[in-house]
Amino acid sequence: MLKLQNISKKFASNSADEKIIFENLNLNIKKGEFVIIVGGNGAGKSTLMNLISGSILPDSGKVFIDEKDVTNLPEHKRAKFIGRVFQDPLKGSCPNLTVEENLSLAMLRNKKRTLHFGINKGDRENLKHELEKLNLGLENRLDAKMGTLSGGQRQAITLLMATLVKPKILLLDEHTAALDPKSSEKVLNLTQKIISDNSITTLMITHNLNHATKLGNRLIVLESGKIKHDVSEEGKRLLLKNIFRN
């Protein structure tokens, strides 16, 4: 499903501050896998996500999605296949647009935008129904400005926006880290539900040991740009115990 082939990436190349993030990184992710990525600061977790989404391009190497070479496809074209939720709840939605307008933008992620109205009646019912599933009482706040919602509510909606058009790959970059424990738990449960209901191939970065234990069927530990451990569900529990004990 997702293949990274010999990816190399340097920042500030040819300067004194040159920092090699990845050197010949290879990664293969199969359809339906839910991969948890852990690793210290600067290990390259977010860079990995950015390389997959296309917000940064590799110096060398190739990125394949479903056997298709997307290495040179710009971010907005890759968005057809990729749903993304950022750590900062403010990054995933437009504060000055309404909930409904935000969601309607997400409905067109894989389509060409035209001069048809952004929202019609059928969409409205549809979106209401989707919001009901979140169980946060947001279905009656379609006309509310996104900026007036709480961080947890915004992150839940961003998650919905990322999956409204079913993506081939869902990227979650510490998407519950900026939330209070209660909202964090809520958003995480939603994440689990949405992913398993739609069987979406997912990569999730987390610093939270509980989340790493609870979720996912594959665990990757990154350390200075190298994959230090890569284990499936069985090995995960054991490995986590070892890593976090030290």
Binding site: S53, S55, E75, H76, K77, A79, K80, I82, R84, F86, K91, G92, S93, C94, P95, N96, L97, E101, N102, S104, L105, A106, L108, R109, N110, R113, T114, L115, H116, F117, G118, I119, K145, M161, A162
Partner: protein, 299 residues
């Protein structure tokens, strides 16, 4: 009464510029200085066409459409060459100064004795002949209504929504599959088109086009927009696109009334730009000062 109506008409005609600047400044969040050059470009092309015997209404439309190219240039400078928004606009504006003189062949072009949309309108409706101020008012209000309705619909379409989202959160728009560069260029072109339309209207209304007619006008447009926004806060209007557009027009009319009053109180006309800049700065800054005070109170 006559004076009041002519002040209103002035406000309506200049509100076209305010609408253009509103699109870049408020919707796209792009400080676009092209507006000043676009205004003069619209005026220059329009004046050139009219002096060559083209129908005034047609001249107005052609000049507006051509002026949208100024927005295209600014857009390309910003998206392809990655030059900052403010600088991209300034570069286009500077270049347009020379282009406008090329178009007119000199620094200004008089429309004395030529037909304009205003005189055409008076000829078409003989009642207006006795009250010429009404024709500017009628034309101004018709154009403003058409623009407000069209823009209101446009910003609710899929492309329009994507433009608003680009201004609000560019990163998110890209993550949702939006080509944000293209959206910026479209918005800049529409904005320039409106500024050009304003230029054509102003040239026809004042009877000449001048290469310097755009200078300082961005402050007038901004003043109109912020006056309009203070209406919205005052009347506690919902911040919908329609009310924002209407308020920009009302703000422009209000600005003209204020100017009329201060001039009558004996202000030197050359001090008007200082006055406009002052009012704009105050109105732009007030909400921020309030926010800082509130934050201090809560802290």
């Amino acid at each position: 009464m006559q004076i009041l109506i002519s002040t209103f008409s002035q406000g309506l005609i200049w509100s076209v510029l305010a609408l253009g600047v509103f699109i870049t400044f408020r919707i796209l969040n792009f400080a676009d200085m092209t507006a000043e050059g676009s205004l003069a470009l619209g005026g220059s092309i329009c004046a050139l066409l009219i002096t060559n015997g083209v129908n005034p209404l047609l001249s107005l439309i052609i000049s507006a459409l051509l002026t949208s190219l100024a927005g295209l240039i600014t857009g390309l400078l910003h998206t392809k060459l990655k030059i900052q928004p403010i600088l991209s606009g300034i570069l286009t504006m500077i270049a347009l100064y020379s282009i406008n003189i090329r178009i007119m062949g000199k620094a200004n072009l008089s429309l004395l004795g030529k037909n304009t949309i205003f005189s055409d309108f008076e000829n078409a409706l003989p009642i207006l002949k006795e009250n010429p101020t009404f024709s500017a008012f009628a034309i101004g209000i018709t154009i403003c209504l058409i623009l407000i309705l069209t823009l209101n619909i446009f910003f609710k379409t899929q492309i329009g929504l994507a433009i608003r989202a680009t201004g609000d959160n560019e990163q998110m728009m890209r993550a949702q599959g939006g080509n944000t560069n293209l959206k910026k260029i479209i918005a800049l072109m529409i904005s320039s088109l409106l500024c050009g339309l304003a230029g054509g209207l102003i040239a026809q209304s004042q009877g000449y086009s001048d290469v310097n007619m755009g200078t300082g006008t961005i402050a007038i447009a901004l003043a109109s927009i912020v006056i309009g926004e203070s209406f919205m806060t005052f009347f506690k209007m919902k911040n919908k696109i329609l009310s924002a557009l209407i308020c920009a027009v009302l703000g422009s009319i209000c600005y003209r009334i204020i100017i009329f009053i201060v001039l009558n109180f004996g202000m030197n006309p050359s001090d008007l730009k200082l006055f406009t800049a002052f009012v704009t700065a105050i109105l732009l800054g007030l909400p921020n000062i309030k926010k800082i005070k509130e934050a201090k109170k809560n802290a």
